[in-house]
Amino acid sequence: MNDPTLAPQWQKLVNHSNTIADLVTLFENNDRRTEDLLIDFEGVCFDYSKQLIDKSTKKLLIEFAEQMGLSDAIDKLVSGYKVNTTENRPALHTALRLPKGASLIVDNVDIAKQVHQSLDSMAIIVERLTSGIWRGYSGKAIQDVVNIGVGGSDLGPLMACMALSEWTGEEQIKQKGLFYNCIETHFVSNMDGTQLDKLLSTLNPETTAFIISSKSFTTSDTLSNAQTALVWLSNSYDNEKSIKRNHFIGISADAKKMDTWGIHKANQLNLWDWVGGRFSMWSSIGLTVAIKIGMKNFNELLAGAHLMDKHFIETPFTDNIPVMMGLLAVWNSSFLDINAHAILPYDGRLKYFPNYLTQLEMESNGKSVNLKGQKITFNTCPILWGEVGSNAQHAFYQLLHQGTQEVACDFIAFINRYDEERQDIDQQLLLQHKLSLANCLAQSRVLAFGNEAVDLQEVCSAMSAMHKNYRGNQPSSTILIDKLSPKTLGMMLAMYEHKVYVMSVMWGINPFDQWGVEIGKVMAKQLNDAIHQQSLDYDDSTNALLKRICNL
């Protein structure tokens, strides 16, 4: 079914949305809400009891999911069905984390085998770099690797490298009797060259390698940065062939384009067209992550995602974390008219996580046309943004608590931090971590219950001054994870990927294409020509701006 408004449960949900009580009342009516509205799975706790739902809502949403054929849709996703209908492709990011020995045949090709061949190729590159065998043009070991990519080729790896910055592949290399060569990883995505300019001034061309990550190998942002990197290297050593052989690695689904650019065959890692960019971190696009954390830890990341995949595929909806996340998101956006969603990790290591999710969610579900090509008549993807929670408290929490917008929030935190077994543990850091956890819990509580969350004296004083009134009733979920590790990060990312898919199934849209970004690229090329040729052939606003840029 493509139009959810035709499902019987849709109208029931519309009607139900008009009757749902506020959070204070919901908690007063049932002081054991978490028995039904909290899921624990392998160290991940998903508490959605502060969402504006009750048992009836949950029941209706699950029935809605069944009517929309979610089970079947999940099977189709993981089995290689061409769920990306507008591009006639499967979306097999789940295959990227199948364990070794698994098999998945799609169009007579064993996808799982291909995936592991690719991982083996990655492992060779990772080892050559991190054991100091890989050498630059002058024979010195590579010390810095720059990932040049944008969107899915940048946001996921950048986020994961930041989150797992405490992990390295040192132990694995040393166990092989090799010397560990610690590689610093960097990310460059900006089209305007600012990042690259600043970065190159700190690097040594003899010891820097570049990874050009582009599924199509045509992305102008990426190729322009790659060209600048090439020129920078060529200024140090005038032998382009040698430079390309020793300083560039290419990752793309288009091997021919990599050949044309001059990426050495041994330095090419291939992608497949059934991997969407924003779902691709698990593939060779994650090479920079593997270099940073080592292949063993990268495999742990994959294993964590696979664990969540199995949970998603096998678990009944009522206990299924990604399904419930997706259904809640649909409930908030399409039925409660909550058009904003804030991601609030209470851990600095997840600094880039909200940014990563902006692409994952909004590029996937920012759609207004369904699978049949019909215009959609309800709200789909909300505006998503976020920041490290404790920082956000000093930034936009004012809006969350007292603004006019309704915002659904995801709070994310880790129970354990700063390994208490270490003898040199700084007790102060532990105190800081607990303080952060306390703030996380406090904020979701105040957002939910408003004035009711604070003590009577303060309430009395608040009631006398409207500008101190906390209205509450802002729904949120809290994702509380035992400890951040490659495995739990993998679980969390897969969780959100599957949430996005669930939402798309409920809305009857294709989450795997992104036609909305195409015209912008075409227009940009035209205007780039216009700037160079100084031609004014556009609307009055664009012409006025062009005049100033071209100094006409």
Binding site: R128, S131, I133, R135, Y137, S138, G139, K140, L178, N239, S242, R245, N246
Partner: protein
């Protein structure tokens, strides 16, 4: 000079390394009898590793045959039942637990105690304080500048002895023998000798690292460090040693001295900038010749056949610890180059080190199959004869001389490519 003397007291040596063996052999050579306790491996194991040191091995066998050497494996349980007049403890490779066990046993003994080894400054003094005996001595092996550890030990060019109690060394049987076999010695308190040892070794390392850093400049200035070295030797403020540019220093002594000094400085929150740089340059220097080869072949070394002359860390030795061979081989193999090593002295040790690696091949002849060799890397040369330039010229094989073995006149005779370290050529 060998001296025959009547054994005046019983001597026990407890140790695990070549210095302990050399110390024992020196004493038997001087006519004394020694009981040697090897800590883990048998002393035979150490002698086997030093097969290239014929004088050491011969003295070992002779001492066993004439009964002046008794050796066995050290067993802590045996301690209470043995008593010697002098114990000589070699602390390198001795675990803290074994050290403490020995000290606990010796604490109240009236015997003399000699200590040797590379330890943090102050450690020897602290051990001496734990012992009630006033006759505690420190003999650092600062005189090992000969390929033969035995020859260097029986005629030490410089002998430093630390004394717990002033003017007691000459009464100790071990110290007395060494003092009688050197013209150049100094006695001082324990800590000053410890500090001096560390200073000496780290100064030598620093000097060589600076020379090697300057050698890189010499390459760019077309200056030959050979010439610079001979001129530097004219200034007697600089000393004549550690002025030869090359692939750096290896062995175990200097790297260990660097590491211990660095740790000591950092533990006291003092900067270790110079030590850090000395170590960095030395480690980097070991792969410098690989980088020259890499550039010569424009990074295309896959399937290139490379002959390596020498694997030992210094001339005349078969020991390869800290040698540039361990940097060069993995790099060449990592890029699928084919390697053949010529070093009769180091062959056994290398074979053991890379036992399961089929890529390690040896030759008994340095000019074997030169027509199929793409380059020669020189790391060490222990032969009594000079390399044969005419044979090299038959194929104009490029030479990458990490040891700066070839003299100017030999380089001028070469018809193929040559580069060294700071030779101003290549």
């Amino acid at each position: 000079m060998k001296k025959t003397s009547t054994q005046a007291s019983s001597i026990c040596i407890i140790g695990n390394n070549a210095k302990a063996v050399a110390g024992a052999m020196a004493l038997t050579y001087f006519g004394l009898s020694v009981t040697f306790y090897a800590l883990s491996k048998s002393a035979d194991e150490h002698v086997r590793r030093y097969q290239f040191d014929k004088t050491l091995c011969n003295q070992w066998q002779k001492s066993l045959d004439d009964g002046s050497l008794i050796y066995c494996t050290f067993d802590q349980a045996v301690l209470p039942s043995i008593h010697f007049d002098t114990y000589w403890l070699f602390l390198d490779q001795m675990t803290d637990a074994v050290q403490q066990k020995l000290l606990d046993y010796l604490k109240y003994q009236s015997c003399d105690v000699c200590l040797s080894g590379i330890t943090q400054i102050g450690r020897i003094e602290s051990i001496a304080k734990q012992l009630t005996s006033e006759n505690v001595f420190y003999i650092p092996f600062v005189f090992l500048n000969d390929a033969s550890i035995f020859l260097a030990t029986i005629e030490p060019r410089l002998l430093l002895i630390g004394e717990k109690t002033e003017n007691t060394a000459k009464n100790n049987v071990v110290c007395r023998e060494f003092l009688e076999h050197t013209d150049n010695y100094c006695l001082h308190n324990l800590k000053t000798i410890e500090f001096t040892r560390s200073c000496m070794m780290n100064l030598m390392a620093s000097k060589l690292s600076l020379i090697n850093e300057l050698a890189r400049l010499a390459d760019h200035c077309a200056v030959d460090m050979f010439d610079v070295e001979s001129l530097l030797k004219l200034d007697n403020r600089l000393g004549v040693g550690f002025l030869k540019a090359g692939w750096g220093y290896g062995g175990s002594t200097l790297p260990k001295e660097n590491a211990i000094l660095k740790k000591h400085l950092l533990d006291l929150k003092l900067s270790a900038n110079i030590v850090d740089e000395v170590v960095y340059i030395n480690n980097d220097q070991k792969e410098l010749i690989f980088r020259k080869l890499w550039q010569y072949f424009d990074s295309n070394i896959a399937s290139k056949s490379i002959m390596i002359w020498g694997a030992g860390y210094k001339e005349g030795t078969g020991r390869t610890k800290g040698s540039a061979i361990h940097n060069v081989l993995p790099l060449l193999w990592g890029h699928n180059a084919i390697t053949t090593v010529y070093d009769p002295l180091a062959k056994d040790e290398l074979s053991e080190e890379y036992s399961s690696d089929e890529r390690l091949k040896f030759t008994d002849f340095p000019y074997a199959n030169l027509e199929h060799i793409d380059a020669i890397i020189i790391i060490n040369w222990s032969e009594e004869y000079r390399p044969d330039i005419s044979l090299i010229n038959q194929n104009k094989t490029p030479i990458f001389d990490a040891k700066n073995l070839l003299r100017r006149v030999e380089i001028q005779q070469l018809e193929g490519y040559y580069t060294g370290i700071g030779r101003g050529i290549g």
